[in-house]
Amino acid sequence: MVTIEVLGTGCANCKRQMSNVEAAVKQLGITGDIVKVDDIAQIMERGVMMLPAIIIDGDLKISGRVADVPEIKKFLAGGT
């Protein structure tokens, strides 16, 4: 099972990011553990400086903008 961490502090962009991740997982029909990381200390621990961000199985895939659903599906399919 893939672990997808969505990093954000709860603003509009971060909520859109979470929504897009949920849509991508649903469309792919995969089992994913989607974790919302909104604690600033935890975000800093991961070395992310621009939000929102997505980390998939420990790999930072995107930061500083909202990824759309096709883009997230590519990440989940193993792309960069």
């Binding site: 509009a12 859109r16 975000i43 621009m50 939000l51 930061s63 500083g64 909202v66 883009e71």
Partner: protein
Amino acid sequence: MAQQPTCTCSSTTGPAGPIRIIFPCAGQANTGQLTNLAAIQLTEEGYGNIACVALLAIGAEGLRANAKKADEVVILDGCPMLCAKKIAAEQGIIPGQHIIVTELGIVKAGSRDYTDADIEIVVSAAWEGSGRTEKLERNGKKPGQGGCGCGDSCGGSC
């Protein structure tokens, strides 16, 4: 103290995000009115900046230039008449994302009634990337900026 992460929500587009111009058709029916409301909300959420399709229709040079400079032009049409897309095409503007409200399950009706949920459907579709062209998805640039080096003289064909 260590520098804190910055959120792009305080920016109109985000430092790494594309610069977008949003043209709603703003037609008189409920679906057209929805495009306008959705474009306003998208602007407030930082997705892009709403622009006037009527101004584009009269060939406003500045707006046309801005649209060509943008990373992505987003067109919101209310129905399959595709008025906004056709207006843009007349001015040589090719959308990187084109959303048609009636294709999102919203029926074009005689009344102009709408709900907040209707607006959210259109706004979500934009954020999710609905109607985005394959080319933009691949390289993050609108057609005509695909690295062909022609400086857009191809009119977006390459």
